[in-house]
Symmetry: C2
Subunit: 318 residues, 2 copies
């Protein structure tokens, strides 16, 4: 057995195909790849701020299919997905660390993957600070994102009287998946929302500054993820389904369970949504409220309860 | 397509098989799993110290075979391998983040995997601070280790006049691999060195305090890894092969290229090896010196050059 991994951590690399691959990645990352060297990357957390860390794996055949996405998009999406968790903490990115398992068949696409990762990180001004390259049969990316913030947002701070807000318009990823699964090409808008989501970093930081009491990203779908806020905050959330912003062709009810979204939901006493939308060029919509009562989520349609959503259970028996 | 990943980040989990698995991991980790909650983990870096981050992937069939290791050992080894990179920086662990891709067939072993991860981290008093669980066809663990240190060691500080030291005795992992590959069971000692290596955290911190000028872990084998020190420090390293400490049954020349080692090599003006060995119960051996000259490594046997080692090239054509 060989030890088939190579770190991306040494710029003074010897000869050989493994290091050629690493060099390809580093060349492509250029100035995005800061401080790669030694056995580990070294970072400074700004004084007075706390470190925020999150990790996210994207596996071929599980989180994406190679028939649907090109390698640029695979890299972009995996990176954006990890960074999205920082947005939900109100944190500013300090760097991403990339663990890449690259099958033989994907080696010719290493450059495109690297470019996608670079652009996904650059979209939120985040440097690439380290990585690890492995051989393997299945294409897989594990992205660890590090950020910092003085007072991290959590899921546990929602209070009765708060309102519930969501960024962006939902349903794009679901529309893209639906197209692919029926053998069609998705619209450009739907494809972009699935393949190249924009982590809501600026929005997360601004909403934290404007008094957000809790936040979560809704990568498992709005209904499933707000249930985590309700459980952690021990409050009841009422969601007005007709208010949920959805892209054309997707109904608000469908948007409720659309997964793969990288928008964020926050609770706050009050956010001026009009001013926010103008300032950030990003839709912010009030979709419900926090009330006292048994922890949970109540979905209302024009004021009438239409049931309690259940979360996805990805490991359920098929 | 489902989004088949679940974070390990929320203790207030809903029902379902996915969350049952996460609960299994969290139960097994118990007090080791600190601060898991929200979209990301929150950590504080001690004032005056810098953050050190490293990531390491272990893929079934590439870094280990399931015929060789049980699931406890798979978890232990992957965690120790990542933490070993902190040792080479002279850093103290702050936490590990675990990204686990768990095939259906391994679900019944989730508890054993979790225990191995816990014990691998606990061996160096490191908490588990977060994670991500994915379905997939190939068992794979990506461990990101975070640590802190006021002045990180690097590969680039070796200076002519320094001596070269290595911790421990080499060759155990190679002996274990050789046994397995020939259909034998390795000795307990060789197996333990492959399956449950001990990251040299205390040693790395102590050697940094005692004036180490550079350090590296030798997971690719001593010869290959000291070449990185030579390149980064722009110095020449002379290694006296007969001084290399090896376990019984492995020759010093074999030990030179034994990979999968998680010992560390440091350069320093002078370390009292006898005192070090007594204090840490860990062998420290002087194996060579740093000289001026063209950057590279010269292997000497009783003073005579026996060639320049070439590193492994794990992606070479077979």
């Amino acid at each position: 057995m060989n030890d088939r991994h190579a770190s991306l951590r040494n710029l003074d690399l010897g000869p050989g195909k493994e290091f050629d691959l690493v060099r390809t990645l580093l060349t492509e990352w250029g100035n995005s790849a800061q401080r790669i060297g030694d056995d580990a990357a070294v970072l400074d957390v700004p004084p007075g701020e706390r470190l925020v860390v999150t990790t996210d794996t994207s596996v071929e055949g599980v989180h994406f299919k190679r028939e649907w996405l090109n390698h640029f998009e695979i890299g972009y999406r995996a990176t954006a997905a990890a960074l999205s968790d920082l947005a939900a903490m109100g944190a500013r990115p300090l760097g991403v660390v990339i663990a890449l398992t690259l099958p033989e068949v994907d080696r010719s696409e290493a450059r495109a993957l690297a470019t996608g990762i670079r652009e996904g990180a650059a979209a939120v001004l985040c440097p690439i600070i380290g990585g690890d390259l492995s051989a393997g049969k299945t294409l897989s990316l594990t992205i660890t994102a590090l950020g910092s913030v003085a007072r991290p947002l959590s899921r546990a701070g929602a209070k009765p009287g708060d309102r519930v807000y969501v960024t962006g318009s939902l349903g794009g990823p679901q529309a893209a998946l639906r197209s692919w699964q029926s053998g069609q090409q998705p619209t450009e808008e739907a494809r972009a929302r699935f393949a190249c989501p924009v982590p809501r970093i600026d929005a997360g930081m601004a909403l934290a500054a404007q008094g957000a009491t809790s936040a979560i990203d809704i990568s498992d779908g709005l209904a499933a993820d707000v249930a985590h806020v309700a459980a952690a905050s021990k409050v009841r959330l009422e969601i007005d389904v007709e208010k949920i912003p959805a892209i054309p062709g997707i109904s608000p009810v469908e948007a409720l369970s659309s997964g793969e979204e990288y928008e964020i939901v926050v609770t706050a006493p009050h956010i001026d949504v009009k001013q926010f939308t103008q300032e950030f060029g990003l839709l912010l919509t009030e979709i419900g409220r926090v009330v006292a009562g048994a922890p949970g989520v109540q979905i209302l349609q024009h004021g009438d309860p239409i049931g309690t959503p259940s979360g996805f259970d990805h490991f359920r028996e098929k």
